[in-house]
């Protein structure tokens, strides 16, 4: 249960090896969270993430979860909820893909959409049904500024996040009055494995900074947070640029 100071006791991470998720989990365990479920495909990163959180004092269970295999979601994620209430679900999985490669390989492009959008729709609904039954809890959805406007350089990834973002907004609105909060998080360029080797965009940020923004948003009962916050205004400007101008920007 969440306590009077807004601290959470339990966390379910979908995409347990994501660096933003690891930072968020670390921050939460440092405060109050004692129970963490890490769902993800088995990998050394997932095990390392579990070991790290255990060392900080959390009870950690690892769930074998494949975002693309939507038929398994109800069974796998349902298991996490049988052991006790979950205060926060963090939906952090996603693949960036390789824009140039994916344009040539429609199957690879579809895989990005499959994981980032289709998998997220299914997993979000499975989890929010459980949260609704609990009468409390929060779903945090990691969207991206890339979903705000299609860019030549990453529109496949961007469109999958755009779909997810709109889905999560609607889901949040549909859950008004249910005791369940949906928080859409729109990070800009984050320095992680996923973006290693890419040229950082202006206002680049770190997983720890995103984690802090997530907890701040949860505490304020917000429906959207940008990380960093200044992106809200930058993107608001970019969103309204006419296409012929936007197209020529070096982004």
């Amino acid at each position: 249960m969440k306590n009077a100071l807004g601290d959470h006791q339990s966390l379910l991470v979908l995409g347990g090896s994501s660096e933003i998720a690891r930072s968020t989990a670390r921050l939460m365990v440092g405060r109050r969270t004692r129970t963490v479920h890490l769902a993800g495909r088995p990998s050394p990163e997932l095990d390392a993430s579990a070991a790290e959180l255990r060392a900080l004092g959390a009870e950690v269970t690892v769930l074998d979860f494949d975002a693309a295999d939507v038929d398994s979601h109800a069974a796998v994620l349902g298991k996490a909820f049988t052991e006790g209430d979950i205060d926060v679900v963090l939906l952090a999985f996603g693949v960036l893909g390789d824009q140039a490669e994916d344009e040539r390989d429609p199957v690879a492009a579809a895989r990005v959409a499959q994981v980032n959008y289709v998998g997220a729709v299914s997993a979000s609904l499975v989890c929010t049904q459980q949260l609704r039954g609990q009468g409390h809890g929060a779903l945090v959805v990691l969207s991206s500024v890339a979903g705000e406007r299609a860019r030549r350089s990453n529109y496949i990834y961007g469109s999958s996040k755009a779909g997810l973002d709109v889905f999560a907004q609607g889901l949040g609105d549909s859950l008004r009055g249910s005791g369940v909060q949906v928080l859409v998080v729109r990070p800009g360029f984050v320095h992680t494995r996923m973006t290693a080797g890419l040229k950082p965009a202006p206002l680049a940020t770190t997983p720890d900074a995103v984690a802090a923004a997530v907890l701040d948003g949860l505490g304020r009962n917000a429906h959207t947070v940008w990380a960093p916050g200044a992106l809200r205004f930058v993107m608001s400007g970019l969103r309204h640029l006419p296409r012929p101008v936007f197209r020529r920007l070096p982004i």
Binding site: M1, A4, G6, D7, R32, Q134, G135, H136, G179
Partner: protein
């Protein structure tokens, strides 16, 4: 589904609220509760999440509020659990009887008084509420109602008093009353310049009064740290009243002001404003005043005069931290007061009291020693860390915090504070194997 919080207005959760008006309806509601269980709720004066049950059912017991029997010669009352102490006082005072124990509000129900095993300013004389309960009827998880006395069913009695509603739903109870000759109080007020003086006065002179409490200025630092206003009194005798008061010595007419406005900005209560308030409050108290005649409502329940005063804390709400530590732990008490004073915790409602002998309820809070209670807005920076530190001090000194007021304790701190917790869990597992009775408090603390 309704969104519910405790009196501190923090951590809301949704539950389906049932409003039974008979024991049969309550039984049906309990039996139909489903996997998220049920818990009883009274007037919701518990500060935290004791009467919330996220996703499950909450039985609002205020519809079960009949007074069933008053045995005047014996001085006992039998009433349904949803009756409030206010209702009882209204009926009983003109008859020359008073409730045996009252907390700082009259708006608690009989069931809540038992579930929290409440205490009052007379704890050093009268113990906690359960001491005066001769029997109660308990609706248990199998749908049966049992009459429980400490003689017939000692374990269940002692698990239920202070058991936070987790053994079942109290439906009716019989309570022994206190005879009084007037509805007024004779009150002595005096100031103590610092913590040492305060503790010394309470230790040496508390036994002269039935009721005793000290308001303490937790923002005062240095030489005046722990300065306080002591308020102690007894039920007035007819001879102490003025001729006008003597005309109707048992009248009960509490005054009520308008409710606090619904929308108050948060952050009104900062160290500066609270410091000013505390300074005024201390200065305005007489250095010493004896035998002042006050109404029962003025002496016991000053805040009840302002309905919904909890709104003063703004949207973020507030919490109350109350702990007790042994009389031999004065050094720990001093450290804690210093720690709070150093943190400039903006608390204008801070109360120190000396408890007498505790009662044997398994999760009953009061134990012989010093108890300090303070209200704190939850927006205070660093509050979580401060209170965790205080918990450690309290647990280390063999003390405990009060579950009826808790909204943030870490579950791992609990067993050290309540040595009979395992007995409580064992009895609940036997009586209610499916865990039908549960609450947000129970989930949060893994009770």
């Amino acid at each position: 589904m309704e969104s519910l919080t405790g009196w501190g207005r923090t951590a809301p959760t949704l539950a389906r609220v049932e409003r039974p008006t008979t024991v049969e309806e309550a039984t049906l509601a309990v039996l139909a509760a489903g996997p998220r269980g049920a818990v009883a709720r009274g007037l919701a004066r518990s500060y935290g999440d004791a009467a919330q049950n996220a996703g499950g059912r909450v039985l609002d017991m205020t519809g079960l509020s009949r007074i069933l029997d008053i045995d005047l010669p014996a001085g006992t009352v039998t009433a349904e659990a949803g009756v409030s102490l206010h209702q009882l006082m209204k009926v009983l005072l003109p008859l020359g009887w008073f409730v045996p124990v009252t907390p700082g509000t009259r708006y608690v129900t009989l069931g809540g008084a038992i579930g929290s095993d409440i205490h009052g300013k007379n704890h050093h004389v009268s113990g906690s509420f359960s001491r005066h309960v001769s029997s109660f009827d308990l609706l248990t998880a199998d749908g049966s109602v049992r009459t429980v006395t400490r003689e017939s069913d000692s374990d269940l009695f002692h698990a239920t008093v202070g058991g936070m509603g987790l053994t079942g739903v109290v439906t009716t109870a019989t309570v022994r009353l206190l005879p009084v000759r007037t509805s007024l109080m004779s009150v002595d007020t005096e100031r103590a310049a610092d913590l040492d003086e305060l503790l010394a006065r309470l230790t040496t002179t508390d036994h002269r009064y039935r009721y005793s409490v000290a308001w303490i200025d937790l923002l005062a630092k240095g030489g005046s740290m722990g300065r306080a206003v002591l308020t102690r009194g007894d039920h007035a005798e007819p001879g102490q009243l003025s001729p006008a008061q003597r005309r109707d010595p048992l009248a009960f007419r509490p005054a009520t002001l308008p409710a606090a406005p619904r929308l108050l900005p948060g952050g009104l209560l900062r160290p500066v404003t609270v410091g000013l308030f505390n300074e005024l409050w201390y200065r305005r108290a007489p250095r010493e005043r004896r035998g002042e005649i006050q109404k029962i409502s003025t002496f016991f329940h000053p805040l009840d005069g302002v309905p919904e005063w909890n709104r003063v804390y703004g949207r973020n709400g507030f919490l109350q931290y109350q702990f007790v530590i042994g009389l031999d732990q004065e050094r720990t008490l001093r450290r804690i007061v210093e720690r709070i004073s150093r943190s400039q915790c903006p608390s204008f409602l801070a109360v120190l009291k000396r408890f007498g002998q505790g009662d044997p309820g398994w999760l009953s809070f009061p134990a012989e020693g010093w108890t300090l209670a303070l209200d704190i807005p939850t927006g205070m920076p660093g509050l979580g860390g401060l209170l965790n530190e205080l918990d450690d001090e309290v647990a280390g000194a063999g003390g405990r915090v009060y579950l009826a007021k808790d909204s943030r304790l870490r579950p791992e701190s609990l067993a050290g504070m309540y040595p009979r917790l395992d007995d409580f869990r064992r009895l609940r597992a036997e009586l209610d194997p499916a865990g039908l009775f549960t609450s947000d408090l129970a989930r949060r603390l893994r009770l």
